[in-house]
């Protein structure tokens, strides 16, 4: 599962930073049928979490109402240099993760 993360590379301590993530996933709703009429099993990313320097700062429970290739954006406060690490899991148990470092000064 490919994903893209966008955070500032550097920030000042106390700055509010924008965090963006785009994950490639079909987010199969469970309501669609294939060409021969069989129901396609639901398979969506059901949990997404972000840890900043080891501490969870964001968590979302996603469901079949979220479009394919979900895009999530939130804000957090730059407190210390470290990694923002995203982890997610879909209905089939496939896990994904992606991380990016931020340098915090001051």
């Amino acid at each position: 599962m490919a994903a893209r993360i966008q955070i500032p590379r550097e920030a000042k301590r106390g700055d509010v930073i924008e965090v963006r993530i785009l994950i490639q996933h079909p987010m199969e709703t469970g309501y669609r049928h294939d060409d021969v009429g069989h129901l396609i099993k639901r398979n969506v990313i059901n949990a997404l979490s972000c840890r900043y320097d080891g501490v969870e700062v964001f968590r979302a429970d996603l469901s079949s109402g979220i479009s394919a290739n979900p895009y999530v954006q939130f804000y957090t406060v730059a407190e210390a240099s470290g990694d923002l690490e995203f982890t997610w899991i879909d209905d089939e148990g496939e896990r994904g993760s992606e991380r990016q470092a931020i340098v915090v000064r001051g």
């Binding site: 490919a2 987010m27 394919a68 290739n69 895009y71």
Partner: protein, 258 residues
């Protein structure tokens, strides 16, 4: 005077330029499909991070460097990284060696089979969409400039005929909507001018990336006409006509569409 006029007309033909009056939509009135979107989708397309099509562009960049086939060559083994700027804007294009018309997808597969000794990528496969999008992205903002002179002329004429051919149960041609009714509403949607400058594009209806031919098939299905197989000659010729029709519009790949 008359002779001078003829000479001018001959010069215009030689340069591959068709007379202005042949254009149903004059150059000054050309509008990209993005002009018919809501502001939210237009913003999504213009956001180089959030545009979901960029996932395919990124994948294409990886594939570009990945060796494939018997000769263990990658695209990057021969082509420099940024050397594809402007290329997509000139397609569909006649291949000088074979004299055949290729769209970008076909050209990629020709390179794979003839130069890399690799299997062609299946039309509409994730890999072919990714490579096409990666290459086309490098022409971002450049005007479409496909040539219709020489060997391309016959393809252009066939493409023009295909564009104006009434088809399917609704007995409509492309021109009935995209030349005569653009800007008006078809149920909840605004009819666009039907330009190819954003493809491969991410379509909300598909929830994924798709080629121009997939979009053509969607239109054909909409008017209840027969859909041709991917890569068929009629689509290629039609793509060339569409490129001429959109001449001057900037490349937007990967576009975001409804």
């Amino acid at each position: 005077m008359r002779f001078a006029g003829l000479a001018l007309a001959a010069a215009a033909l030689a340069a591959g330029a068709a007379p202005a009056q042949e254009r149903a939509i004059p150059s000054g009135e050309l509008k990209s499909g993005s002009a018919f979107l809501g502001s939210d989708l237009r913003a999504l397309q213009n956001d180089a991070f959030a545009n979901p099509g960029m996932l395919w562009v990124e994948r294409g960049e990886k594939l570009w460097r990945e060796p494939a086939g018997k000769k263990n060559l990658a695209c990057a083994s021969c082509h420099k990284d940024t050397s594809m700027r402007g290329v997509a804007a000139s397609y569909p294009k006649i291949d000088k060696a074979s004299g055949k018309l290729f769209n970008l997808e076909g050209r990629i597969n020709q390179c794979r089979t003839e130069r890399m000794g690799a299997e062609p990528l299946r039309y509409e496969s994730e890999d072919l969409l990714a490579l096409t999008a990666y290459i086309a992205r490098q022409s971002l903002g450049l005007p479409i400039a496909a040539r219709i002179d020489g060997a391309a002329r016959a393809h252009f004429e066939t493409g023009r005929a295909a564009y104006h051919l009434r088809r399917g149960q609704m007995n409509l041609s492309c021109a009935h909507c995209h030349d005569a009714q653009w800007g008006k509403r078809l149920l909840s949607e605004t009819i666009s001018q039907g330009h190819p400058n954003a493809y491969p594009a991410y379509r909300m209806e598909w929830q994924t990336m798709g080629s121009l031919e997939r979009r053509l098939r969607a239109c054909l299905s909409g008017i209840r006409a027969e859909m041709l197989p991917y890569g068929s000659q009629e689509y290629l010729d039609l793509e060339l006509f569409l490129a001429w029709r959109a001449q001057g519009l900037p490349i937007e790949t990967p576009g975001v569409r409804r």
